[in-house]
Every structure is written in C-alpha cells, then in structure tokens.
C-alpha cells in the first residue's frame, strides 16, 4: 500500500542509498532518516528559511524539495558544514556577536551567510539584509546577524589582501 522509491545521494560527503516514500521532503528525510536534526522545519512551505541546506552547492529549502528529487545530488547540511570547518569563522562571529538566541533559525542563517560570503568582496549592510530577506528570526532583531556577517566579510577581505 505504501509507495516507496529508492534514492541515492551524497550527504555531507557520505554516499547514501535509502528506500523512502516519494512524498518525504528532503528536510524530513535528513531529519528523520539521517538523524541530521540541525536542519529545522519552521513552516514547511519555503518561507522561514530554517531548513536551508546546500544542494549541489546552492542554498535550497529542504522543505520545498522531495528527497527523491535529490537523486544523484550532493547535499550538505549544517552538520557537514560545521564538521568540514568551512564556516568556522562565521560561527565564531555569530557567537562573539551573540547573533542568535533560541538557535532555531541559525542553521538556515549560516547557510545563507555561507552562500552570500562565497563571492569575494565586502557586501554593504543593505546587501546583507537583502540576502537575509528569506531568513526569519524572531529573537535577535537581525542587527547582530548583519553585524556578524559584515565582520566575517571584512575579515576575509583583509586576509585575502594580506595574502
């Protein structure tokens, strides 16, 4: 009675094959089947940004993609980004600036921050706010998040110049 399909993909560097229901979203698949609970679901309709993960390197709402659609894709979650050490400076800046309170939006915020900081250059505060326009935070009032991202951008730009 239950319809299932096989899906094979790479999650945080690990090849994974699972038999799942096609109706399972990538967010639910990561949280339930893979126990990667750092991907949060706040609205399940692509509005709040808490479920953002990288799919083939691009920030993607885990709740707007069914896991079967990610067949053959490379998925990276907050856990993978953390363990790879690639967002260590962003996490440190968030910590230092207290750019999080309850932490529920934070993984999505970090994915957005990672994506927007990938190209070189220091974005303006308006550009940072624009990039965050799809990430909802109820606790901080956003300013600390903007501050933290701005600080990392400056720090990275400075390091590049120095090198």
């Amino acid at each position: 009675m239950t319809i299932t399909a096989s899906v094979t993909l790479t999650i945080n560097g690990e090849d994974v094959t699972r038999e799942i229901e096609p109706r399972e979203t990538l967010a639910d698949f990561l949280r339930r089947d893979m126990q990667l609970t750092g991907t949060h679901t706040g609205c399940e309709m692509g509005v709040c940004g808490a479920c953002l993960v990288l799919v083939d390197g691009k920030a993607t709402h885990g709740c707007l993609v069914f896991a079967v659609q990610a067949e053959g894709s490379t998925v990276e979650t907050i856990e993978g980004l953390s363990e790879r050490g690639i967002i260590g400076d962003i996490q440190a800046a968030f910590h230092e600036r207290n750019a999080l309170q309850c932490g529920f939006c934070t993984p999505g915020m970090l994915v957005t921050a990672h994506s927007m900081l990938a190209p070189p250059g220091v974005p303006t505060r308006e550009e940072i706010r624009d990039a965050l326009s799809g990430n909802y935070c109820r606790c901080t009032g956003y300013e600390a998040i903007v501050d933290a991202i701005e600080a990392v951008a400056r720090q990275r730009a400075g390091e590049e110049v120095a090198a």
Binding site: T2, I3, A5, E21, P22, R23, T25, D28, E44, M45, G46, G49, L52, V55, K58, A59, T60, H61, C63, L64, V65, F66, V68, Q69, E71, T112, S115, M116, R129, D130, A131, S133, G134, N135
Partner: protein, 290 residues
C-alpha cells in the same frame, strides 16, 4: 503538513514525460523547481497520483540567441535571469525583475517555466513576458506550437496549456537600442508578492514614444497589458502630460482584486503612482539617449 502519497517518475525526454502523463490517466502533475507545487502538496490543496519530474529533460534547458529573438528554456532558474549575459543584453526586463522574485534560495531552484505555467497574477515573470512580447513554445503529444504571451494567460491560474502539454521555452524579441525598459513593484516586505508591479518597454523615436508596452502584475486575474495607457503614450512626447494621461487611463486597464488589506482602489492608486515613477524615470533616460 505532509503531502498525500504519490508516485514519482523522472523522464529523460519530453516524449517520456508525455507517456508518463498518459499512463497516469490525467492524475499527474509536472514538477520542475516545485517551489509552488511543494507547498500546495504539503497543504493537500493538490494531490496528484503521480509527480513527473521534468527537471532533467535537456530539451527544456538552455539560453540561446536565435536571430532576432532569444530562446530561453523553460527550466532556466530564476537565479540565471540575474547572471546570464544573454538575458542581461537581450532581455533586460527579465534581469530587472529577477531581484524582486522571492529570496535568493528560492531563485536558486525556481524555474521561469514553472512560474509562467502557474500564471500567478502576482508573480513577476508572467507580467514581464507580456511586456517583452514573448512567445511561449508549447509541446504536446501532437507536436510543438507557439502562443504569444497575450493569448497565453486566460484567467486566474489558467493558461493556454492543455492538460499534459509542457511549456518548453520562451522566445523573446531582443532589445533594440531604441528600447527603454523599466520594472518596479510595491511589496510589503522584500521578496513578498507585490501589492502592484509593472514592467515597461518604450520604443523611442528620439524624445517621442513610438510604441509602448506596459504589463502589470497583481492588477487583475491575470498579468495584464495596460493597453489604454499604452495608447496614451504612443506617438507622443514622453512628458508630464503624457504620463498623467497614461496614469488616468489605467482605470480602464486594471481590474484589481479587492480585499480588506489591499482594496482595489488602493491597487489602482498605487498602479498609477508606480507607472508615473517608471515613466518619469525613463524621461531622463530618453533625454540622455537623445
């Protein structure tokens, strides 16, 4: 908020997609970016038996210059409208509208074809297709056909697409040096569906408007051309008087939805303000060009 169960198929060609649709006996939906479909499924507003994932059909991709038109594949992502050099050079209105479409992550995956085929009257790309005079290339089991944007949007969420047909590509007449383009919208928050928005193309003969194409979003049951306003401008010097006449004429062009938050009168008023600002901004451009 979990979707009802469905089967999932992933055809590699348009023909396979049609076969899958036929096999499902009509209870199938095509899935491209899925960014409008997935919430509808989660809310159980739609519950097809089969989802046909067309995102891997090569024939639906690609942005190529084809004589004096630009062929834009239906699977082109919103984000590509921001970065593709052909779009920037030849379809500038798409480039102008793209930053207003939702948020960065949505633009990474949402497709132009998905947005236009859904035909949400509040969405940017359908209105932009009208303003650009694009033609829709549609494939069905019996072959391909082309439908001009004007004839594509029929009613609220209703298009010229017959059940089972696929939107394949857009053919956009390329911008000429005499063209002036403008797009803007009023939205409550960045990335929200706009209260009103418009795309404008003016074909200028010096300071005079030779032809105007103006399309509004969130102004009727479909994206809508403002033909009476366009007539007010055609053949006239682009000045305050012509703009005021065009603004007045909008009453005959727009049939905005009416609700407590955004009454119809407000949308019409804002439509006029927006048109005035867009055209006013083009006066300066026209002067500079002359």
């Amino acid at each position: 908020m979990k979707a009802r169960a469905f089967r999932y198929v992933r055809p590699a060609t348009i023909a396979e997609a049609f076969d899958a649709f036929a096999e499902a006996g009509g209870e199938a939906s095509y899935l491209a970016g899925g960014h409008s479909l997935a919430p509808a499924l989660a809310l159980r507003l739609q519950a097809p038996d089969v989802l046909i994932d067309i995102a891997h059909i090569g024939a639906l991709r690609g942005i190529v210059l084809d004589g004096d038109s630009l062929r834009i594949g239906a699977l082109t992502r919103h984000a590509e409208a921001l970065t593709d050099p052909h779009i920037a050079a030849h379809a500038p209105l798409l480039r102008m509208a793209a930053p207003h479409v939702a948020h960065p992550a949505i633009r990474n995956r949402g497709t132009l074809g998905g947005s236009v085929a859904l035909a949400d009257p509040a969405a940017e790309f359908p209105a932009v297709m009208l303003a650009m005079g694009a033609e829709m290339e549609i494939a069905g089991p019996d072959g391909h056909r082309r439908v001009p944007a004007e004839a594509f949007f029929l009613d609220l969420y209703q298009t010229a697409l017959e059940p089972g047909e696929l939107l394949v590509a857009f053919h956009v007449p390329i911008a000429r040096p005499s063209h002036r383009w403008a797009f803007d919208e009023f939205a409550r928050r960045r990335g929200d569906y706009a209260v009103i928005g418009a795309g404008v193309m003016l074909d200028m003969d010096g300071p005079t408007v030779a032809e105007a194409r103006i399309a509004f979003l969130s102004a009727a049951a479909t994206p809508v051309r403002a033909r009476q306003a366009e007539s007010c401008l055609a053949g006239r010097l682009l000045d305050a008087g012509a703009i005021a006449d065009a603004q007045q004429a909008l009453a005959g062009d727009l049939d905005p939805p009416d609700d407590e938050q955004t009454p119809a009168a407000m949308r019409l008023h804002l439509g006029r303000v927006l048109l005035g600002r867009l055209l006013g901004g083009l006066i300066d451009n026209a002067a500079v060009a002359a």
